[in-house]
Amino acid sequence: MSNSEPKIVCFSCKFGWGYLGSEAALSSQVKNWIPIICSGKIDAQYILDAFRQGADGVLVLGCPEGDCHFQDGNVESKKRIYLLQKVLEAYGIEPERVRIELSLDPEGKKIPELVKKMSGTVKKLGPMKVLASR
């Protein structure tokens, strides 16, 4: 892990992020990029699954506050992530491994940058603990 890049899973809402950009071009730049319809779709279980399948960090990109197409999915997601961070801490997992950003970027140019930034943060934390599989 010290040499290899951490694995970051990025969920981004299609209503606010990268809908004008080329999905193919962005996918080639950002590994494990999952465009979704509303960040409010992201259940805590999805994030746990990402970790269990080997993610070192999870980044959720939602629409700006007050701009959710479905009223408040972005805020719902934020609340879940803040709650989940408390749980991660209890299990000895750094809460910084999950981050939510509410903003707007139709071209999606910021997505690779944000993933890279997240990657840098996570790299400093070291490898993610190996979770028990079922």
Partner: protein
Amino acid sequence: MAGKPMVAICWLGSCGGCDEAVVDLNEAILDVANAVDIIFWPVAMDFKYHHLEAKRDGEIALSIINGHVRNSEQEEVAKLLRKKSQLVLAFGACACFGGTPGMANFRTKQDVFNWVYREAPTVVNPKRNYPQPKSKVNGKELSLPEFYEKVYALNQIIDVDYYLPGCPPPPDLTANAIYAVVEGRLPPKGTTLAPDKALCDTCNRNATKPSRISLSDIKRIHEVEASPDTCFLAQGILCLGPAVRSGCGEACMNINIPCRGCFGPVQGVEDAGAKFISALAAMLEAENDKDIRQLIEKIGDVPGYLYRFSAPVSALSQKQV
């Protein structure tokens, strides 16, 4: 004696409440005793481990095992019972999910030992000793079971056929489980022998549950005088009813205490806490960062709330190295 199915009842890391729950069958326990031959029950009868070892493999029809596994003795007995039994029933929240002792998994073994044997104000231990698996006393070697790094649910140690959660399981479901085996009315392996509904569905207070719950403040049950017939969530008191399996007979509700989740998640949900996060997040009435964080702080112990009975089986449990 001959012909009656043999049943073993055993406690591992347990408080004894689950054994008490079997006794709580009251008169019905006499019928159970007529229908089966109880060949092992450390709490109630004088049998030793060597009596178990003398049984043929698979000779016991059913082993009802309560309690979690945290030391080598518990592991050994669990494995012995599995070997000698056709069916194993994980009985109670500890056997099913690790139970309240499972919250110790939020700390290390070292933390636990430090507190219990050194730091706790009631401890007198001038030599600062810890219990050792082996020690010499007057030239003789004494042994103790080894205390493991963490708490395990029963199915993390042995294969489990059926589950009956609860802290403790109620008498009706307990009798039903035993008779299901005696009469051969067995559901598919892995079934939880309790209703599949969420507690809110069967709660007497359901009629007073608002269609949209919004908590702008969170109160603890001891801080308020809770109404005895209004939905706890409507009163601003956290209750795990929306995400927890029913079947307990609403024992806590009936004494005006909110649900803490001893029946575990409903069918098909793997991580009880993660599921309740979604339910809880939707109830928290806060929009900006500061308010959200403040409200979460008011919950106090978030992981303890979400995983009070199920910390060892969470998807976040780490692989044992």
